[in-house]
Amino acid sequence: MSLKQKVLVLGIGNDILTDDGIGPRIVQQLEKEKLPSLFAFQTATVGGLEILEMVTGFREIVFIDAIKTRDGIPGSIYYLTPENFRETLHLTNLHDINFLNALKLGEKLGMELPEKIRILAIEIVEDMEFSEQFSPSIREKFPEILEEVREYLSRISD
């Protein structure tokens, strides 16, 4: 299957910063499973220009990122698109440009951007402390979160 037919599942976050690495952890787990060859998996730590370079050429992209919202319920997944995008923790990048501007830039430069962009933003609890372990509530909910993501991906077909 060529790159142009594939869906990139991109987990973004820092896996040594408690819940912050939930995106990469999910991707690492899914990578081990026998999912259709339709999917490609990658992880990254920052958004902005870096992401633009990574997503070019794929048919679709599914970002899995962490988010913290006021009064959010840990483990909730928000299903976002560029149209209703709100800042997740990594799709923005202080150092260069934010995610939406990166996409606009890609369009402007005539880059081969994915036809469809989906963002799964997972409500987390702790991203201020170094740890390779999730916080208790995310640890407890991780199997459910993973299943929800797995189920979501299963609805994406060739």
Binding site: I16, E53, T69, L94, K108
Partner: protein, 487 residues
């Protein structure tokens, strides 16, 4: 008293903010720049083999992982009391030059150019890299992306991965370079040199060719007379990977030069109750507060300070540009904060030229990649220049090389006091009685700290986020009278 808050990410917790307190007469009373600090990094490292740290520290920050990897690798060498063979050192430096090219291109085109190519008070919807490309042309935008990608390819080739770098091990590097790979790097580095020259010419045309912008750089509220720090080689030329840290005073006279393991004799950290981030200062001067001048302990560690602290650049085109910059700005040292953008472009050219020089060096494809570890590990310090300032890693281990203590002073932390002072000075210059606080004014205040290319992910071990800003005007009773948001 009115209170203005410039709050990067108000919806998210754990973010930085700038608060400007105004006097009743409308003038600026004080400015506080605050960033939160992540917890537990030292505990996270303690108990691990020291050679593991060079991989862990790349995760402190997604923006400059290569800098931490290099400083950590050098600290681990020092812990084992070992000097890597020449080929290993050159491979590390080659990787590092590509890292600098990658980062400096991003800063110039995405962060600096919008203010100068589009305009400091232009509508924020166009004051970004897309607005820059609208002005300078799509082929240049494509070239920015292309050169960054090529720099990433070199880093991935040498480092094993572009961000999760696994290159360094105590005493050397894991992998060498083949002749074929070297030939490819040479071609790529030639492209960097061309693009560096092109970017400098663009700066000269667009910025130096515009009287208003030159006036903002030279006469705007953006100058800070403080000491300058930078890593230099044996000839006192700028070096990012190795050498001694040199500090010159506000007049450009050398105050001292120190090797990595002497840093604690020269740099100390001041603590303020309102900031998690410490304020490094020159120990020999002492902490005199947030003040400028010859007696102040405040220094900066930026592209401009590196040039100020050196006697020149080690490569020919960068040296020409170095001389031209100082000639144009009236000699050394330069204290104009916005000249950091110019200095960064001189450094871009240096990184590109040095990258090419190293790629062409016959030793770069040598096979001697690691020195034997014959000593009992104990304590070691590694210092490099990160894009955002002098980066120091200090590790202590037991006799088996297991980490017992860690101390890191990162680039942006060096600049904590100067950033606070620069923001205050800009605010004082731009906000007076009856000033209408517009988005343009807010951006011009932000320009003062953006010049430092601050990266709070390093400074606070926090993660890089888009700078969303909120400016809140409050009256003396704390009631909000006006709010401006920008993202």
């Amino acid at each position: 008293m009115r209170r203005i808050t410039i709050d990067p990410i108000t919806r998210l917790e754990g973010h930085g903010k700038i608060e400007i307190f105004l006097k009743d007469d409308g003038g600026v009373e004080n400015v506080y720049f605050q960033v939160p600090e992540l917890r537990g990094f030292e505990q996270f490292c303690v108990g691990r083999p020291v050679e593991e740290l060079s991989q862990i520290v790349t995760k402190i920050c997604g923006v400059c992982p290569g800098c931490h990897h290099m400083a950590s690798g050098k600290a681990a060498d020092a812990v084992y009391g070992v000097e890597p063979p020449p080929t290993a050192k050159k491979l590390r430096e080659l990787f590092y030059m590509a890292h600098f090219v990658h980062s400096h291109i991003a800063h110039f085109y995405a962060l600096a150019a919008p203010d100068f190519v589009v305009g400091p008070t232009a509508d924020p919807s166009v004051r970004n890299i897309i607005g820059v490309i609208e002005k300078v042309g799509i082929p240049i935008g494509s070239e920015v992306i292309k050169q960054r990608r090529i720099a990433q390819e070199i880093q991935a080739l040498l480092g094993g991965h572009q961000t999760h770098v696994v290159m360094n091990i105590p005493g050397g590097v894991r992998k060498g370079l083949t002749a074929e790979e070297r030939d490819d790097v040479v071609k790529k580095a030639e492209g960097f040199v061309d693009f560096g020259k092109f970017s400098m010419n663009l700066f000269k045309d667009v910025v130096l060719g515009n009287k208003t912008y030159v006036d903002i750089i030279l006469n705007g509220p953006y100058a800070l007379k403080i000491h300058s720090m930078g890593l230099v080689d044996n000839n006192n030329h700028v070096n990012f990977y190795d050498g001694k840290v040199r500090v010159v005073d506000t007049e450009g006279k050398e105050l001292f030069k120190y090797g990595p393991n002497e840093y604690l004799n020269y740099v100390a950290e001041h603590v303020e109750p309102w900031s998690y981030l410490k304020f490094p200062y020159l120990k020999t001067k002492g902490w005199k507060g947030f003040v400028e001048g010859q007696e102040s302990g405040v220094y900066h560690a930026t592209p401009l300070s590196r040039l100020n602290a050196s006697d020149g650049m080690a490569t020919p085109i960068a040296q020409e540009e170095y001389e031209f910059m100082y000639k144009t700005l009236g000699g050394k040292p330069v204290h104009n904060t916005l000249a950091m953008h110019w200095a960064r472009l001189v450094e871009l050219i240096y990184s590109a030229e040095r990258c090419l020089e190293l790629a062409k060096d016959p030793e770069i494809i040598g096979k001697d990649l690691r020195a034997p570890l014959d000593n009992v590990p104990s304590v070691g310090v590694g210092i490099v220049e990160a894009q955002r300032g002098t980066l120091t890693h200090h590790y202590w281990t037991d006799e088996k090389g297991i980490v017992t203590k860690v101390n890191i002073i990162v680039g942006t932390t060096n600049n904590n006091a100067p950033i606070c002072m620069s923001i205050k000075k800009a605010a004082e210059g731009l906000i007076t009685k009856d000033t209408e606080i517009t988005e343009g004014i807010l951006n011009m205040i932000e320009m003062a700290f953006r010049a430092y290319d601050p990266c709070f992910s390093c400074a606070t071990h926090s993660l890089p986020r888009q700078m969303r800003m909120e400016l809140v005007l409050k009256d003396s009773e704390g009631k909000t009278i006006r709010s401006i948001k920008r993202s």
